[in-house]
């Protein structure tokens, strides 16, 4: 079976996100100062071959923990769908 994972990785809430801060600042320049607290993360999409959904989930989780996210500074969530 083939699955697609859609992974969202965000900087931890407790940490300053300078990129988000710069983008928030820029909202004023486009006259949308009502937009605040922008935080910028990453979206990663990948495909995985696995015998079942549970195995696919555990492999994607392993990929997130080992490489895709650094849990000292980021959190991640993902959704898996069968292709």
């Amino acid at each position: 079976m083939k699955f697609r994972a859609e992974i969202d990785i965000m900087p931890l809430k407790a940490l300053l996100d300078p990129q988000g801060k710069a983008v928030t600042q820029s909202m004023k320049n486009i006259h949308l100062s009502e937009i605040t607290n922008v935080r910028v993360g990453k979206h990663i999409s990948l495909e995985i071959e696995a015998p079942d959904k549970k195995t696919a989930e555990s492999k994607v989780d392993e990929a997130c923990k080992k490489l895709l996210a650094n849990q000292i500074m980021e959190s991640y969530v993902f959704e898996l769908s069968e292709l």
Binding site: L15, L16, P18, Q19, K21, A22, L67, N70, I72, M73
Partner: protein
Amino acid sequence: MKFGVVVFPGSNCDADMIYVIESILKQQVVRLWHKDTDLQGCDFIILPGGFSYGDYLRSGAIARFSPIMENVITYAEKGGFLLGICNGFQILCEAGLVPGVLLHNDNQKFNCKNVYISTENKNTLITQNCLPKQVLKIPIAHGEGRYYVDDNTLKQMKQNDQILFRYCSEAGQLSHLANPNGSVEHIAGVCNASKNIFGMMPHPERAADTNLGNTDGLYIFKSILGLVTA
């Protein structure tokens, strides 16, 4: 002493480091290509600065899984001496060889300038020739150097004397003004609990040649060689 400098795709401080070791320190040095696995019997391994793998994903995240890193990690876990500078420090953090991470600078700038760092622990291989709290002038060049570690780990690190350097003023005062990137407690360099793995953001290899008008980096290199400086 035989030094090994690991070269990743995107390393750009390897040549400066090799020049200092070979031409200034007069020591043997070999390049260790990231796709090799043989550490060639080196006594001291350096992960140099640069932008390994274009800083893709996170600085150091991909380099950390380069083929040579498996043996570098085994070597360091057995007590082998390992120093990571700038991107090398980021790789050490990603590999979990030293605690913490290096985040984007709080001021959203790539900072390339001389800074002052205070020697916070002079009882390590790379600081033994420094005086306690000795201030060194060493250049930095990074966009992601904001050292961060959680409070509990930081507490343990302090109890175990793992803070090597802190950003400071020329007179040695710690302050937010002297901190170029927003690092927690002004930290510029750390080591692991066993004190054989060292990571620092400033570049001592850029301050080791009289022709450059600054040789403060030699305090670190001569410490490594166990030489006594006048």
